[in-house]
Amino acid sequence: MSKANPVRTTVYYSTPTESHPVLQSGKTIKSVSYQISTNCSRLQNKVSGKFKRGAQFLTELAPLCKIYCSDGEEYTVSSCVRGRLMEVNENILHEPSILQEKPSTEGYIAVVLPKFEESKSITEGLLTQQQYEEVLVKRIHAATATSRASRGITTTTAPTPPQPARSVC
């Protein structure tokens, strides 16, 4: 008989959340770089065809980009999601401020396509807005007890309006 609709897999886009130091007031981003090591630039990522061959594979800790602030601080944003890198947002190279001004929309960093089998478990591992805020509250309490090294906190947001889920790693 007739063909059924293809099965949906979710596509994730990465963007820093409001708790990230980069998004704290007062910080100015000098530049963003996708050169994460001597041999690897996320800009070199090229996918082709329906099956997106050639994509760089990302693990949770794989670095996506480096953010250089005017005060000398440097942050590395990690993927937080396992999957294949579809694209990085080149607009933040020319206009780094959109990272801070429109982090949930035009200021995204990357689009990651997880393996079909893993998409369900990844989505379940993400946090709702409410859960995210609870985690932050706990962190703030912990931070007041010990001093913390400023390590980049990155979040991953699934593009399902109106309740984006977040993971914190």
Partner: protein, 532 residues
């Protein structure tokens, strides 16, 4: 009138004595008019014997393997001695009817060594009647038919062997019959059977008919007859993916053109030996070529997919546009299955208004194909009465070629839409007026995230030909757009994280989102509009 002449005598004699049936003998003597082949088998045999002046006191007997022997009737009538002679030699049987007349076994000639029975019992009325019974039982409606028949590949080998034999014999007489003067088995078969089919079913045979009756013959006993060809010509028989046996008719015929006469004769008997049994009928099938129904559909539901939405065997949304239309057609045309295609498509939550979207449905193997335009109108009415989620217009039968017009529409023609837009910032009437003046706006759209999992990542340039706005309130307005085919409207409104540029949000310097979308028109002139 008997078609053979004096100069055919030697060849005919040779072939008959080696176990070839009368009709095949005609073929190898170049008899190329239909009438002789249509005569009844028994009559042909008698005429042939008369022609060859086989003496009444001689009998031509056929035994399965050793070449036939002529036995003097006199010996038989001598009684026991004769019979003892017979049994001592262990040769064939003669049935002698009490009144002394000869019932020659040859009236039930054993299976022809060339056609394996195809031009014997399988072209006669009784068999054709059997086939026609099956055709009538199949329930197809037809006004003509095309008959296709498939013979086992080893027939080509036997034909080749018989030809070599005949060629040799003619060489002795320096006769000039060439390979092309030999009548093909399939041709003779059709000469005989076509009129029989027409008579039995009451319809003409037409090579262009969409209704096909196909008969497939096989001969398991001699399946290995072809195998020797593989050793001589191995690259004719490379295994192909979907074929069960590598010895197809085409491959065998190809090998026969390549093999040298001496090599062939070494491996295959000339004349071919007589088989024990006739061919078997592997299948008798009927099928009707696909018919096409086209129309335009409107979609009034915001909860209906175009094709069934099934994930992991579970249906996510009830029904679909294609099922609501096709299920009725499938039933009325009594078709096996269908293929639905349309000039583009819309999302589940998008309505299709205006003249509707052109579609075409291919009905596979329909059993009923003749409908008056009145009947089609009634069918359209039936579809429209059965659901308020979709409506159909201009329903009509079309040809396969016409489908091209529809697909042309998908890529080349413009479409119009209306959208209800929300803005985060407060807007006034004057804030949207400038959109009315924008003509032929070029936009670049990266593959939207919502389809990225099943489409290649690419940037598509599209044109927004014109826009018209209608203010609703401080956060809403209606937008009417006319765009190039293939434009993602939703992404043009909300910008898809900046991956569609420019977009309504960037043009207005707001955050915009789309609440509702309707297709207002699909600007394709096909199928032709019908007056209702």
């Amino acid at each position: 009138m008997f078609p053979l002449t004096e100069e055919n005598k030697h060849v005919a004699q040779l072939l008959l004595s080696t176990g070839t049936c009368p009709r095949c003998i005609f073929r190898f003597c170049g008899v190329d008019f239909h009438a002789p082949y249509k005569l009844p088998y028994k009559e042909l045999l008698n005429e042939l014997q008369k022609f060859l002046e086989i003496e009444k006191d001689e009998l031509v007997l056929e035994v399965p393997n050793p070449p036939p022997k002529k036995i003097r009737l006199q010996e038989l009538e001598d009684g026991i001695d004769g019979i003892d002679n017979l049994s001592q030699n262990g040769e064939g049987r003669v049935s002698v009817i009490e009144d002394g007349s000869i019932a020659s076994k040859s009236s039930n000639l054993n299976v022809c060594n060339v056609c394996l029975g195809i031009l014997q019992e399988f072209c006669e009325k009784e068999f054709i009647k059997k086939v026609c019974q099956k055709v009538e039982a199949s329930g197809f409606e037809f006004t003509n038919l095309v008959f296709s028949v498939s013979f086992p590949p080893q027939l080509s080998v036997r034909e080749h062997a018989a030809w070599l034999l005949v060629k040799q014999e003619m060489g002795k007489q320096s006769l000039s019959l060439g390979r092309n003067d030999i009548v093909q088995l399939k041709e003779a078969y059709k000469w005989i059977t076509h009129p029989l089919f027409s008579e039995e079913l009451g319809v003409p045979i037409d090579g262009k008919s969409l209704f096909e009756v196909s008969v497939v013959f096989a001969h398991p006993e001699t399946v290995e007859d072809c195998h020797f060809l593989r050793a001589i010509c191995p690259d004719c028989f490379k295994p192909a993916k979907n074929k069960q046996s590598v010895f197809t008719r085409m491959a065998v015929m190809k090998a026969l053109t390549k093999i040298k006469e001496e090599d062939f004769r070494k491996q295959f008997p000339c004349p071919p030996n007589s088989p024990k049994a006739v061919c078997t009928v592997l299948e008798i099938e009927c099928a009707h070529g696909a018919v096409f129904v086209a129309g335009r559909y409107n979609k009034y539901s915001r909860n209906l997919p175009q094709t069934p939405w099934i994930i992991d065997g579970e249906r996510k949304l009830e029904s679909s546009v294609e099922e609501l239309i096709s299920d009725h057609l499938l039933a009325v045309f009594k078709a096996e299955s269908f293929n639905f295609s349309s000039s583009g498509r819309e999302d589940v939550d998008v309505r299709t208004l205006g003249n509707g979207r052109p579609f075409a449905i291919e009905l596979v193997n329909p059993h009923r194909v003749h409908f008056t335009s009145q009947e089609i109108k009634e069918l359209q009415q039936k579809i429209n009465n059965s659901s308020n989620k979709i409506q159909v217009r201009d329903l009509q039968l079309v040809t396969r070629e016409a489908i091209g017009h529809m697909k042309e529409g998908e890529e080349e023609k413009t479409k119009s839409y209306s959208a209800l837009i929300w803005t985060n910032k407060v807007i006034q009437k004057k804030d949207i007026e400038f959109l009315n003046d924008i003509k032929d706006l070029k936009i670049d759209q990266k593959t939207p995230l919502r389809v990225l999992h099943r489409r290649p990542l690419a940037v598509r340039t599209r044109i927004i030909h014109s826009m018209e706005t209608r203010y609703v309130d401080e956060h809403h307005f209606h937008l009417y757009l006319k765009t190039q085919a293939g434009t993602y409207i939703k992404e043009f409104v909300h910008g898809d994280f900046g991956r569609t540029k420019p977009n309504i949000g960037s043009l207005m310097n707001v955050t915009a989102d789309i609440l509702e979308l309707d297709v207002e028109s699909v600007d394709v002139d096909w199928p032709p509009a019908l007056d209702d």
